[in-house]
Chain length 291, copies 2
Amino acid sequence: MDFIKSTIQNKHALNDNADNVRAVFYISDGTAITSETIGRSMLTRFPNVPFEVYVIPYVDSIEKADKAVQQINFLYQKTGMMPLVFDTIVDDKIREHINQATAFNLDIYEGLIGKIADELQVAPAPHTVNAHGDVDSEVYKERIDAVHFALDNDDGARTHHYAAADIILVGVSRSGKTPTSLYLALQFGIRAANYPLTEDDLYENTLPKALQPYKDKLFGLVIDIDRLVKIREERRAGSRYASYQQCQQELRAIQGIYISQGIPNIDVSTMSIEEIATRILQMTGLKRRIG
Amino acid sequence: MDFIKSTIQNKHALNDNADNVRAVFYISDGTAITSETIGRSMLTRFPNVPFEVYVIPYVDSIEKADKAVQQINFLYQKTGMMPLVFDTIVDDKIREHINQATAFNLDIYEGLIGKIADELQVAPAPHTVNAHGDVDSEVYKERIDAVHFALDNDDGARTHHYAAADIILVGVSRSGKTPTSLYLALQFGIRAANYPLTEDDLYENTLPKALQPYKDKLFGLVIDIDRLVKIREERRAGSRYASYQQCQQELRAIQGIYISQGIPNIDVSTMSIEEIATRILQMTGLKRRIG
C-alpha cells in the first residue's frame, strides 16, 4: 500500500512476540507531523508497550481515507488488537470515513476548535493545508537565511560574520554545537554560529581573539566526560582525541574559561536537541525570528 | 519576568489597535514544543485574529506554575481578554495551579491518557520529561550522524560518500536542497546528500559522472520561475544568476534531465520544508532511521 513505512516506538520493549505489536496510526490531511508529535508525546507514558507506527500524510480525499481504513483494518486482523488512531483531519466527511475503521480513535481536535471559536467569537476558517506556514515568503526567508548562516559559520569556519550572529555557541569538539545551531535556525530562525574551543584555545585559558569582541553572544555547552568519550570513540576509536584523559583535560579547561569569562552555559549530557535549544532561549532571552 | 519573549502569530492581522491583542500561552513541564505545535495548528483556523504568543517551558514546580499564573493574569488585565492557555503539564497538582488563572484553558491531554490506558490495559507511567527521546544513545547517534552526513555532503562538496547516502537531492541553485537535507537528518535520521545541477551540468543534458552510479537515489526539486528569481534576487540582486532568462534556461534544462533520466521530482514552490520532506518520504518509500 501507498504510505510511509512503519517504524517501532519503544523498540526496547519488543520481545519474542514481535508479530503481535499494537499498531498506531498518525493520520492527517497535511504532513501528519502535528498528529505524530501529539501521539508520540502521549505514548511516552507507556514506555513498556512497543508500538508499530504508521504515518499517513495527505489524506485529503474520501478515497485516501478509505485506503487508510483498509490498512487499519488489516492491522487489526493481523494483530487482534485495535490500532490506535491519532488523526488531525479537519474535513468532517473525510474524518467520518476514518472513524469507520475498527480502531481506537483519538480525535484530537474534536470539539476544541469549536470551543476556541466560541471564546474568540470568530467562526473558524476552512482548513489551511499548510500548518507550518513558511510558504509565507518572509518566514521562509528568515528560516533559510538562518540555515545558511549556521552552515557558513559552523565549526569556526569563518569568524568575520559574528557581528550578524544572534548567538555563538562554544564548546569542546562533539558537544552538540552543530545540530543545536541548525535546530535553532530551522525551528526559530535564529542565526547561530558555533566555534569549537580546541586544545590550543583551551590551554591559553583565554578566549580566542575572534570571539573577544562578541563575549555577550557566547553560550557554552557542557557535556559529561563519559558521554563525550563515548561519542568521540564512535568517531575515532582508540585515538588520543577520544581518550578519557584528553576529554577530561579539555572539559576542565573549558569550565575554567566559562567561569573566568562569565559565559552562561548548560550541561547538555541528558538533553535532546530540542531541549538544548529551548533552554538556550529561556536562559538568554533570545528572541525568535519566526513563529 | 523569567520566560521566553513573546512573538506574534498572524502578524498580517495586526491593526492600529496593536495593544489589544489576545494573548496565547503554550505551557509545559518540558520544552513546550508539543504544546506549541498543537496550539499553533489549531489557531491556523483563525487566520484573521492576531495572537501574542508566550511560550513557558519547564513549568515543573508549583512556584513556576504560580509565576506563570501571574503572567497570564497580567495579560488578562492588560488586554481585557482571557488568554488562551494550551498546556501539556502532566502533574495534576501543578496543572491545578495553572487552571486557577483567569484564562481560557485548553487542557489537551485531559482524559486522553486515561482512555489510552484503559484500551491498552496498562497503567500510564509517571511523566517522562524527555518527550523527544533522543537521549537514547542509539537514536542520538543516528540523528547526529545524519546531520554530519548532510553537512559533509552539502552542495556537491564531496561525492565519494554517495554510496552511504539514503537519498541524493538534486535541483538548481536555491531550490531548497540544503534545508530539506538538514530537516530530513534532524527529523528522521535520514542521510541526505545534495548536489546542485549547475549550468555546466545542465547544458550537457546528462547526469554528472559523480551521480551516474547512484541514479536510484536521486530525487529532484522543482521550483517555479518567479519564486526562484525572487530568492536569487535576494541573494545577488541584479546579477545574471538571478535574471529571469537564466532561471528559465536552468529550469527548462533540469526538467529535461528529470524526464530523460526518469528522476522522481516535486514542485516545492508552495511547500514548507516539513511538507517537502514528508512528500519525499511518501513518494520514495524511504524508511526513517529514527522515530
